[in-house]
Amino acid sequence: MQKRFVSIWFCHLLADWQLIRRPELAAVPFVFAAADHGRKIITSVSQLAHEAGIEKGMRAADAKAICAGLEILDDKPGRPAQLLRGLGDWCIRYAPIVSIDEFGMDSLLLDVSGCTHLWGGEREYIKEIITKFKSKGYTVRLAMADTTGAAWAVSRWGKRTPLIQPGGHTEALLSLPPEALRLDDALIMKLRKLGFSQIKTFIGMPRSVLRRRFGEAFLLRLAQAIGTEEEVLTPLQPVLPFQERLSCLEPIKTRTGIEIAITKLLECMCKRLQEEGKGLRTGILTGHRIDGKMVQIAIGTSAATHSVSHLFKLFQLKIDQIKPGLGIELFILDAPKTGDVEVPQGAMWTATPGLDDQSVTQLLDRVAGKVGASAIHRYLPATRYWPERSIKGAVSLSEKPVADWSTSRPRPTELLRQPDPIEVMALIPDHPPKFFIYKGVQHQVAKADGPERIEREWWLDEGEHRDYYQVEDDKGQRYWLFRSGHYGVEKKYKWFIHGFFA
């Protein structure tokens, strides 16, 4: 899915917050200031104070000199982060992944991939957020783009539209100043000094040159804005891993005890999985023994499931591998891999059976747990003539055959893995054998069909073609024989048996 990100920049975060709390300040220019090396430095400016010419980073005394009626409020460290967290939690309604912009500490970054259609489109989505924040009293600037970096840049420095069309973010960045790349002050000073006032002046330069001049961090920020480097957002509400713990008062060392522990853990986990519509694909049970060692068993399922009884059966097959030693005091059940469960509609009468039948997948899970998944095979037709390659293993239970099973040519019910050489008496050049000797028994051929020539797939392996004959001996037993290669005086040809017909 096309990734889309929104950056919400709170232009006057602290000031807006203060105004909401104390509406009487609306007509008064005010600033926030914090003590720094024995002086007061301005950390945040209100709209009115900004218009009066007061900037962030000034000394409070200087500001007071510029604007006589200026109100100076005390700033507490960590307050913006606290405010942003609150606002971010509120923003969960717009996107599942909301994170605080750690660089500027005055904006929120939202991963809105697949969310906007719920508001009727991207434009309506942006409008909705701006209106909601405005009605609350926060002035915000928004931008939506394919990367967080671009969204962040456009929300602050963009002049035209806040909505950057998919794929258009690099173009939108070109005319923006280097500050839009989330760089630290020293780097920006350096860029400015060299005359790079817009991103387009250096975006096309060779990476090696940029790295030597400005370092790796610069390149990373650039790549994150363009989208060549992926940026991972740390969500405010982290996705909880599927993990359950069970600590025991007494160390457990019996099979029954372990079974009870597994059931309890599974009940808790499956309840949560069911609520979230998920199912377990792999499960790891770790037992912490009292001697400090760990024992572990793992299971896997072929389809996501949250059925306690089924998962328990899978674990039950592996309990023998647990060596409890002096006893296990802590059980941890992890589900590192989960998948969405398709909840089947409850059938009033027996549902149509088939490969996707739940009991069949559960059976295969148990078999895979006992003897390994490599023992289970299912075959689909392959569009090839060479008998050994005319079938291929299916990757999954749901894979459907792309071609039809061919029935136009006779194929034996039992096929030998390796053709067995036989001794044959046959008329030259093209007659089926008169008799053949297989495993010391002579078979008189009564009837025969053939030959069916199957050429070797020369692009895969070298060798002679095969001329197959379907023969029936005088007792009625049917075989599939072939002659490898042409008849000839010098050339060696050989006869083989390759299968048995029903």
Binding site: P353, G354, S359, Q362, H377, S406, R417, K475, A502
Partner: protein
């Protein structure tokens, strides 16, 4: 007089049913009934119905017999799997060629092959699979199976309703199982129409060696392209000289 005869027949029929019940034979529910296309062979079974909730044993000593049994089972599977159900095929040394099953109207992609190394694992899987109600049938190639093991399998199919086919390679110890039916399928010379050259439809000698509460018998069957066809014994002998002529001709 006819009224008396009818009453007698009714009485005998009822008595037969009672005896079957006392012998522990459970009549299958209506949904499990139905012909599977075996013709007169089905009448050898109690009630004239091929028992689906049962273990069928096939004695295969030589590979030719194994191939014939595979073909016969595939023909039966075709009607058992008609509703789209899956089948499990357990083996330690499988030679069945999946592509050939389509000639017996079985969709090979609906058969799950489980190839294991030891008999023990094969037995375990067979039992588990027979308990699985979502399957139509389970085919297991087992060399040795004891009385107790066969009882376990029988109990499994009685509760689940899955049909079990067991291909046994040891012909000597056949008496020691509780299978519902014991079969031996061996190939017979095929017959082509009007003495045309080449091979005809696969034809088998089907020996029903043992049937619980039924009548063992011997039949000649042919897989006529898409269904079983029973060959009258007399017709079989009739065609024999023709084959002789072909062989030496």
């Amino acid at each position: 007089m006819p009224g008396v005869m009818e009453a007698k027949r009714d009485l005998i029929h009822r008595l037969q049913q009672d005896i079957l019940q006392w012998q522990g034979y459970k009549t299958t529910s209506a949904s499990a009934c139905g012909k599977i296309g075996l013709g007169t062979i089905e009448s050898a079974f109690p009630g004239g119905v091929f028992p689906k909730r049962a273990i069928h044993e096939f004695i295969t000593v030589i590979p030719e017999d194994a191939a014939a049994s595979d073909g016969f089972i595939a023909g039966v599977l075709a009607s058992l799997m008609e509703d789209g159900a899956a089948c499990v095929w357990v083996s330690t040394s499988r030679r069945l060629f999946p592509a050939s099953l389509s000639t017996f109207n079985v969709a090979p992609e609906r058969i799950i092959f489980i190839d294991v190394n030891t008999e023990r694992e094969a037995l375990w899987i067979t039992e588990e699979a027979l308990k699985c109600e979502g399957l139509a049938a389970v085919v297991a190639e087992l060399n040795e199976i004891s009385l107790i093991e066969s009882r376990r399998l029988q109990l499994a199919v009685e509760s689940s309703g899955v049909t079990g086919f067991i291909l046994r390679k040891d012909g000597r110890k056949t008496a020691s199982t509780v299978a519902t039916a014991r079969w031996q399928i061996s190939p017979l010379p095929s017959v082509t129409e009007e003495g045309m050259p080449g091979l005809g439809f696969p034809r088998w000698q089907v020996d029903l060696l043992k049937v619980r509460n039924g009548n063992p018998g011997s039949y000649v069957m042919e897989w006529a392209g898409d269904r079983f066809e029973e060959i009258e014994q007399s017709r079989k002998y009739e065609t024999l000289p023709e084959q002789e002529g072909l062989k030496f001709g």
